[in-house]
C-alpha cells in the first residue's frame, strides 16, 4: 500500500532522515518505535507533505506522493493525527470533527453518518460537542484528534505518539481504540515510545534511531528481541 525507497529529509544542513525504506501493507498495524529525536515525526510530516524529501521515492497505492501538497495527500487517503494534536482550540469539538471532513465536504450525508460513528467510538465527545476543544482534558483532546483524522476517511491513518502525556488507564483505552480502528479496516502506522503497549497490538514494527531504520520485524520477533527489550521495554 505504502512504499518508501531511500527517502532523505533535511532541515537546512541537518539530515533528519537517512535512506528510509519501508513498506506498509493494506490492513496492517505497523508500529514505528524510536526515542525522542529519532525522526518519527519528521517521517510522518514528510508523508503528510509538510516536509519535502530531498531524495528518494514515496508511493501510495501506486501513486507517487513526493512533493504533493498536504491537501492532495489527504485527498489521496493518508491522514495524520499529529503529535501535540494540532486541534483548533477555540472551535467546538463538533466543528473540529466536521473540519476533519473538509475533503469530503460535498458528501453531507456521508459526513453525518461518519460523525455518528465517531461519537459511538468516543461517547464522551457527544456531551462535549459544543465545548471549545481547547477546554477538554488531554485524553479527550486526543479523542478529538483521532476523531478528526477519522472524519477524513483515511485508508492509511498515521498516529504520532497518541499516548504522550496521558494517564495509564486512558492510554490503555487509547490503544484499544486504535486496535478497533484497525480491525474495522483502516491501515494504521503508529509512532510510539510506549513500545510494549504498541507492540501488543501491532502486526509489524520498525525501529528508528538517529534518522535511520535500524530494525524491522513482526510482533513476536520484536517482543522477543533482546535489544528491543533492553532499549524500549526495559526488561
Amino acid at each position: 500500500m505504502l512504499q518508501l525507497k531511500n527517502v532523505d529529509v533535511c532541515y537546512g544542513s541537518f539530515k533528519a532522515l537517512n535512506e528510509i525504506s519501508m513498506t506498509v501493507n493494506s490492513g496492517e498495524l505497523v508500529v514505528l518505535l524510536g526515542a525522542n529525536g529519532a525522526g518519527k515525526s519528521s517521517l510522518f510530516n514528510t508523508l503528510s507533505g509538510l516536509n519535502k524529501p530531498t531524495a528518494g521515492d514515496i508511493e501510495f497505492e501506486g501513486k507517487r506522493l513526493n512533493g504533493l501538497r498536504p491537501s492532495a495527500i489527504v485527498d489521496a487517503g493518508i491522514v495524520q493525527c499529529a503529535e501535540g494534536r494540532k486541534l483548533f482550540p477555540q472551535m467546538s469539538v463538533q466543528q473540529n470533527l466536521m473540519l476533519g471532513a473538509y475533503v469530503h465536504r460535498r458528501d453531507k450525508q456521508g459526513n453525518r453518518r461518519r460523525y455518528k460513528e465517531i461519537l459511538e467510538m468516543f461517547p464522551i465527545l457527544e456531551e462535549k460537542a459544543e465545548q471549545p476543544a481547547g477546554s477538554l482534558s488531554g485524553g479527550q483532546q486526543q479523542m478529538v484528534a483521532i476523531g478528526r483524522a477519522m472524519m477524513s476517511r483515511p485508508r492509511l491513518l498515521m498516529l504520532d505518539e497518541p499516548s504522550l502525556g496521558l494517564a495509564p488507564l486512558i492510554v490503555r483505552q487509547m490503544f484499544q481504540t486504535i486496535q478497533q480502528i484497525n480491525s474495522l479496516g483502516t491501515t494504521v502506522l503508529l509512532a510510539e515510545q510506549n513500545a510494549f503497549a504498541a507492540l501488543k497490538i501491532a502486526s509489524r514494527a520498525y525501529v528508528m534511531e538517529n534518522g535511520r531504520l535500524v530494525m524491522e520485524g513482526d510482533r513476536e520477533a520484536m517482543l522477543g528481541n533482546e535489544k528491543v527489550r533492553e532499549a524500549y521495554i526495559g526488561a
Partner: protein, 287 residues
C-alpha cells in the same frame, strides 16, 4: 445634550469606518502573518473605483459600491498571488517591503490616471434625520448600519459556512489546517478578497462625507494599525472594539480638547493601553 449626542454619532461613524478597515488588516495578519501596509491603498482604490463608476460611468451609488468591492477584491487577490505568495518562505521583512511597494505602486497608478486633486463623491443620502431634536445625517446613519450589517455578515460567513471555518482553522492552527486537507492558497486568496471587500465598502461609505485623493489611505491605515495592535493582533472583536475606542476618542477629544490634536489621540491611547495590557485588549488569534 444635542452636541454630546452629535459626538456619539460622530464617534460611531468614525469607529465603524476604522473598524471595517482594521478588520481586513487583522484578518490578513492573523491568518497569513502579513502586516499589509498596502491595505490603506486598497481603501483608497476603493474610493476611486466608486468615483470612477459613479462619475465616469454614471452608475448608481449602490451599484458603484458593489463594483468597487469586486474590483478591490481582485486587486487584493492579485497582490497576494503576484507578490506575497512568492515571498511566503522569505524572511518577514520581505513581506513588509513588498507591501510598501504595492502601496507606492497603487498610489502612483491612481495619481497617474486621476491626478492628485481632491475629489468628491455625492451619495443619494444627503438628508438629515431629526429625531425629536436629535439630528443624524442620513449618510452617517448609513455608515453605522452598513458597518453593523457587514460585521454580522462576516461573522455568519466565518461561523456558519465550511469555507469560513477553513479561514478560522488556519488562524488557530496552521499545521492542523494542513492536516485536514485545507488548501493554504485558497484560504490566502479568500482572506485577501475579504479584506479588499471590507476596505472598498468602508471607503465608499465614508467618501461622501470626506474627500477622495491618492494619499487618503495614509491616516486611515496608521489608525488601523493602532487599532489592531490595541485590540490584539489577529483578533476580530479586537478590531471592532478597538475601532470604536479610537473613533470615540477622536470624536470626543476633537470636540472637547481640540481638532488639531485628534490624530494624536489615537497614538496617545495606544501608549496608555499597551502599558496596561501589552498583549492588547483581546488575545491573539481569530475567534
Amino acid at each position: 445634550m444635542n452636541l454630546f449626542f452629535q459626538q456619539i454619532i460622530n464617534g460611531m461613524t468614525l469607529g465603524s469606518i476604522y473598524g471595517l478597515v482594521a478588520l481586513g488588516l487583522t484578518l490578513v495578519y492573523g491568518i497569513l502573518h502579513i502586516p499589509n501596509f498596502a491595505h490603506g491603498a486598497l481603501y483608497m482604490v476603493g474610493a476611486f473605483m466608486t468615483y470612477f463608476l459613479m462619475v465616469d460611468i454614471g452608475a448608481h451609488y449602490w451599484v458603484a459600491m458593489a463594483g468597487s468591492a469586486i474590483i478591490v477584491a481582485i486587486v487584493a487577490v492579485l497582490s497576494e498571488r503576484l507578490v506575497f505568495h512568492p515571498l511566503r518562505n522569505s524572511p518577514p521583512i520581505h513581506d513588509k517591503i513588498a507591501a510598501i511597494g504595492i502601496l507606492l505602486f497603487l498610489e502612483a497608478l491612481v495619481q497617474m490616471i486621476w491626478g492628485a486633486d481632491f475629489r468628491r463623491i455625492s451619495s443619494p443620502y444627503t438628508g438629515i434625520l431629526n429625531f425629536d431634536g436629535l439630528i443624524i445625517p442620513e449618510q452617517r446613519l448609513l455608515i453605522i448600519v452598513g458597518a453593523f450589517v457587514l460585521v454580522a455578515a462576516l461573522q455568519l460567513f466565518l461561523r456558519k459556512t465550511m469555507t469560513g471555518a477553513t479561514i478560522i482553522a488556519m488562524a488557530q492552527n496552521r499545521d492542523g489546517a494542513f492536516l485536514v486537507g485545507i488548501d493554504a492558497n485558497r484560504v490566502a486568496m479568500m482572506t485577501f478578497a475579504i479584506s479588499g471587500i471590507l476596505a472598498a465598502f468602508a471607503a465608499t461609505l465614508y467618501a461622501p462625507i470626506n474627500l477622495v485623493y491618492p494619499a487618503m489611505g495614509h491616516v486611515v491605515i496608521m489608525k488601523a494599525f493602532v487599532i489592531i495592535i490595541l485590540g490584539g493582533m489577529g483578533s476580530i472583536p479586537g478590531a471592532i472594539v478597538g475601532g470604536m475606542i479610537i473613533g470615540f476618542a477622536e470624536a470626543f477629544g476633537g470636540f472637547y480638547i481640540s481638532t488639531s490634536y485628534k490624530d494624536i489621540i489615537a497614538f496617545g491611547l495606544l501608549v496608555v493601553i499597551l502599558s496596561i495590557r501589552p498583549q492588547g485588549l483581546f488575545t491573539k488569534g481569530a475567534h
